[in-house]
Amino acid sequence: MNNLSGPVSELLVILRHAPHGSSWLREGLDAALVAAAFGRRVSLLFMGEGVTALCRHQGPGPLGQKGTAATLEMLEMYDIDSLWVEMAALERLGLYTEDLMLPTQPVSSDQLAAMVAAAPLVLTF
């Protein structure tokens, strides 16, 4: 992954959980958004089941829980423009980047390790 045109990110937030099943995704996104709102350069890596956070056509939860799809649509506004998805996870789930609601860049496991190594701060959710 050699596309670091622009400032290197200060914070890498790794999102490993799917929407609705737990609050981890929402909480991780909130942390990323707050950092971006404070002017930090944030990269988001969707790993494992976290890749499903980006599936199109998500709905509210059975009891009307908001979910995170609307928040994700705000990412561009917050200047979080580095969205990475774990390729192997997409494959396991039968998803392609075209199925996702936002433009993303796929990463291999080697690239993933390199991202983690390079980030000054990593938060996992």
Binding site: S23, W24, E27, A31, V34, F38, R40, L121, L123
Partner: protein, 130 residues
């Protein structure tokens, strides 16, 4: 070095709080500075004012309070997460028209921005989760 701890686990339900406390005690004993503990996700439950474990078990909130008293460790609780889970200090309780409150000093309700600040300004941020 300046440390911060991110605690994501509820007291007693998982080992997260215990591990975090042990680590906190060990790092101050080694002469490091623990700036703050940030409670997020289920970790906000550590601030429960009415926590009442049996006498023969560690009182986790009391151990956190002692860390604050003896080493000036800030105890920061994510306000949005806390409110959802019924953890309100006097000010929030009044704002929401609730009788009684469930969070008191030295635990402070605060925004997520504090977590980001801690993570980026401290030398080390260690996360304990369920």
């Amino acid at each position: 070095m300046r440390y911060a701890i991110l605690l994501l686990g509820a007291p007693y339900s998982s080992q997260a709080s215990h591990s975090a406390l042990r680590f906190a005690q060990a790092l101050v004993a080694r002469g490091h500075r623990l700036e703050a503990v940030f409670f997020y996700h289920d970790g906000v439950q550590n601030a429960a004012r009415l926590m009442s474990p049996p006498q023969d078990e560690p009182h986790l909130a009391d151990v956190w309070r002692r860390l604050h008293a003896e080493h000036s460790v800030a105890l920061l609780v994510c306000i949005a997460t806390a409110l959802r889970r019924g953890l309100l200090d006097e000010k929030e309780a009044a704002r929401h028209g609730k009788l009684g409150h469930s969070v008191a000093a030295p635990f402070e309700l605060t925004g997520l921005g504090q977590l980001i600040d801690l993570g980026l300004s401290c030398d080390r941020l260690v996360t304990f989760a369920p």
